[in-house]
Amino acid sequence: MIALLLRDLRLAVRAGGGFGLGLAFFLIVVTLVPFGVGPQGEILARIAPGILWLGALLACLLSLDRIFALDFEDGSLDLLVTAPIPLEGVVSIKALAHWITTGLPLVVAAPVFGILLHLAPEAQIWMIVALLLGTPALSVLGTFGAALTVGLKRGGLLLSLLVLPFYVPTLIFGAELVRRGAEGMNTQVPLLMLAGITAATIALVPFASAAAIRVNLR
């Protein structure tokens, strides 16, 4: 399993793997927003948590179709299905690799982008906590969408339509956590809800993804 993780990471980092693409996309979203809503600091500070979350969501979505599609095309997915490790484990590892290459860079870069958007200083730490807790759920749910559409020729748009509604609870609690943190309110409820959704997603969704892959490779 560790070998699989290293293989996926190496494939992502090397040329054509799309590593850093999500980060660049995130930067573009953050750059374009002030052009759309005006450069006033207080407006930007108010919408910054939402923009950062939306940027993270879209950046994550951007790289989802790569999770299984490349392996499906060159046949290595068939080998992974017949491998002695359980498919649920393979799916979890795939999600972890996806998170390390797209989610984790976003978490690290979020404070910089937060400064660009005048995010309140006391909200910075909550932004990092929220992204750290929320983005793994995005990756795991993304593998489910990617697993459903793996056999399709042009699954990209369908993938977005399938996956985005699943992101609603994570987005709601993630953005709420940052907003409450910025206003100095009690953050316990959204924090626990966000962590709970992510934990349940990591525990249960790989079974659904693995089932979908088995159907698609039948």
Partner: protein
């Protein structure tokens, strides 16, 4: 004699052949009676004027929008566990009806909300969760449409329906939380049927029954169409082989 007998397409077709005209007739009668009763023989409510009458379409449609997904959940489970094709086709047949019901609930709600709340749309948790439910229906229908192999499509949409049910419910309560966090106490309650007078309740009940029967009739028609389309496909394939 067990309910699983009806999983046999031939038996299903034979039974629904007899049941369908009765269902259609009953649906038409209850809908016509319920709507005419509600629209012409019920006094307008105080403070609401005539606009309150939209509930005779809005409430049944909203009820069906949620219940159709539950019905799809049950039929998807039956397909995934017992592999009865009729069950999967019934889920496929029900999805567009559910999407339309959600749309009807949203549109009639907007028509009611404009004079009453002064806005077509408000990011109220109920409204928001219905919009999300509509997106789930769209995704489900799109997945059915884009997978070519019917058995694969049935399996994938079945799994999507199960996971989607959990997340639609989760979104409903997350939206509740989100809006309270934004503006406390500003949301409007739609729980009218709990303290509604009998004068409004009975025609509403009639309309609800009418919508259920109407849905059953539509699902039967659409499932029969799907079965016939499946048979046609099989015949064509056999001819191509020969």
């Amino acid at each position: 004699m067990s309910i699983w007998e009806y999983a046999n397409p031939v038996k299903f077709m034979k039974t629904t052949d007899k049941v369908l005209p009765w269902t259609v007739g009953l649906a038409v009668i209850t809908l016509v009676v319920g709507l005419i009763w509600g629209y012409f023989f019920v006094p307008s409510a105080e403070n609401f004027g005539g606009s309150v009458k939209v509930i005779y379409v809005h409430v049944p449609a909203a009820m069906m929008a949620i219940n159709i997904w539950v019905m799809m959940l049950v039929t998807s489970l039956i397909w995934l566990i017992r592999r009865h094709h009729v069950s999967a086709l019934a889920a496929k047949a029900a999805a567009p009806i559910g999407a339309v019901m959600t749309l009807i609930a949203l549109i009639t709600g907007a028509v009611w909300g404009q004079p009453m709340w002064g806005t077509w749309w408000e990011w109220d948790p109920r409204l928001t969760s219905f919009l999300i439910l509509f997106l789930f229906y769209l995704g489900y229908i799109a997945l059915w449409a884009s997978v070519e192999n019917p058995d694969t499509a049935a399996d994938l949409t079945g799994v999507l329906c199960l996971v989607g049910a959990v997340f639609a419910l989760l979104s409903r309560y997350a939206a509740n939380f989100w809006n309270q966090g934004l503006h406390q106490g500003a949301t409007l309650s739609l729980d009218k049927e709990q303290h509604i007078a009998d004068v409004y309740w009975f025609p509403l009940l009639m309309c609800m029954a009418g919508f259920v029967l109407f849905f059953v009739a539509l699902v039967l028609v659409r499932t029969r169409t799907e079965i016939r389309a499946r048979r046609l496909g099989a015949i064509q394939q056999r001819e191509r082989m020969a």
